[in-house]
């Protein structure tokens, strides 16, 4: 490796490392499975390395890298065909995630909470990809609608309406399921 390679690698790591957690989470939200998320995540890192000069000049790399990931996902949608997400089970939800859920402090509540989350996973699987994505990014990942707009390019009004419908549909599915 020569010096310029070394500098590029170091610059890439310095710029990307703060984004990795967020990018991986986005990959998982887009694909719904660990295996597909890892493929998407790796693809996008390779792609971003090729765009290092652009990346270095970006003021808000978070939005930009997320958009690169979203576009790559859309362009390769068939490859990243979503595994229908009854995904809490499919993804082998680690027990420690349940233990670490806030507001639960005894095994019975833990078990109930886990059941609720599994039901939520099934209800999310009933939504269209677009509805599921907006509700997961907004209500789970904490993106603002304007940030989602930056990533997907959809109009703000469309996203807001999609979010409203997604929540309503989830409430409907979960109340039919007697969760609520």
């Amino acid at each position: 490796m020569d010096i310029s390679d070394h500098n590029r690698n170091a610059t890439f790591e310095r710029l990307l490392r703060p984004q990795l957690d967020r990018l991986y989470r986005l990959a998982y939200r887009l694909t719904g499975s660990k295996a597909e998320a890892e493929d998407l995540f790796q693809d996008v890192l390779v792609k971003l390395f090729g765009k290092l000069d652009d990346l270095a000049g970006i003021e808000k790399p978070g939005s930009w890298t997320s958009r690169v990931m979203f576009n790559h996902f859309v362009d390769n949608r068939r490859r990243f065909a979503r595994r229908r997400l009854v995904s809490v089970e499919e993804s082998q939800l680690p027990q420690k995630s349940v233990e670490s859920l806030p507001g639960v402090d005894n095994p019975e509540q833990d078990a109930e909470r886990l059941d609720d989350i599994i039901r939520l996973g099934k209800a999310l699987a009933e939504l269209s990809d677009k509805h599921r994505l907006v509700v997961l990014l907004h209500d789970t990942e904490g993106y603002k609608l304007t940030e989602i707009q930056d990533i997907t390019g959809d109009p703000l009004g469309t996203l807001k309406s999609r979010l409203h419908r997604a929540r309503a549909r989830l409430r409907e599915l979960l109340s039919a399921d007697a969760t609520f």
Partner: protein, 211 residues
């Protein structure tokens, strides 16, 4: 305010985007309306579950490996940057052979290979530069080229590697990738160059003989 209107405002209420007057109206209504109270509780419970909906995160070592892999593939690309010139420039540079394999997969949308010299004759241990020439009707960003080498054939600078991958972009028109090959054994064989973009791919084959 009718219940339907309250229902429409619940999301905004929970997102904190209502003004003070609207918040007061909504609270006043839900205090006296059991149905809307229940709807609000249900919305709050859903929000709580969504906030806790987990992502199984990989460990830190996975991120390190992913970064390393990205830079390794990308660095390979930097070392072997495609020469985006036309034929004239390439000839002027004194390159030795025009390669170019036959197209095996008839997938639309990827560049055609340019001509048809599927055989390359090499001399043992003598570097031999060949050019993969692709012409593409459109610009292709983020194309992945993987070169697979037969045993005993190496690309200069990549000793011992049988498969090398570049991520690159193709411009519209002719794109030339010069590869300096070295034969370390007299066997020869078939070199494969697989070009992938989106979910399409094409594989080009070149027969290498060594004397």
């Amino acid at each position: 305010m009718p219940c339907e209107h309250i229902n429409e405002k619940l999301d905004d209420y929970m997102d904190g985007t209502l003004d003070d007057t609207e918040v007061a109206v909504l609270r006043s209504h839900t205090e006296s309306c059991e149905i809307c109270q229940q709807t609000l509780r249900s919305a709050q419970r859903l929000r709580g579950l969504l906030e806790d909906y987990p992502v199984p995160m990989p460990d830190a070592a996975y991120f390190d490996q992913a970064l390393t892999k990205a830079t390794r593939v990308g660095t390979g690309h930097q070392r072997n940057r495609w020469i985006m010139t036309g034929f004239g420039g390439a000839i002027a540079a004194g390159l030795i052979a025009w390669i170019i394999g036959g197209m095996l997969l008839k997938t639309p949308g990827l560049p055609d290979s340019d001509a048809s010299i599927p055989d390359v004759a090499m001399t043992l241990e003598v570097p031999h530069t060949v050019n993969l020439v692709f012409s593409s009707a459109t610009e292709l960003d983020g194309a992945v080229l993987t070169v697979s080498l037969p045993q005993g054939i190496e690309i200069e600078g990549f000793a011992g590697q049988r498969e090398i991958t570049w991520v690159t972009s193709l411009k519209a028109g002719k794109n030339i990738l010069p590869l300096t090959l070295i034969a370390t054994t007299p066997h020869g064989g078939e070199l494969l160059a697989k070009l992938e973009h989106d979910d399409r791919d094409r594989t080009f084959r070149i027969r290498v003989t060594v004397t």
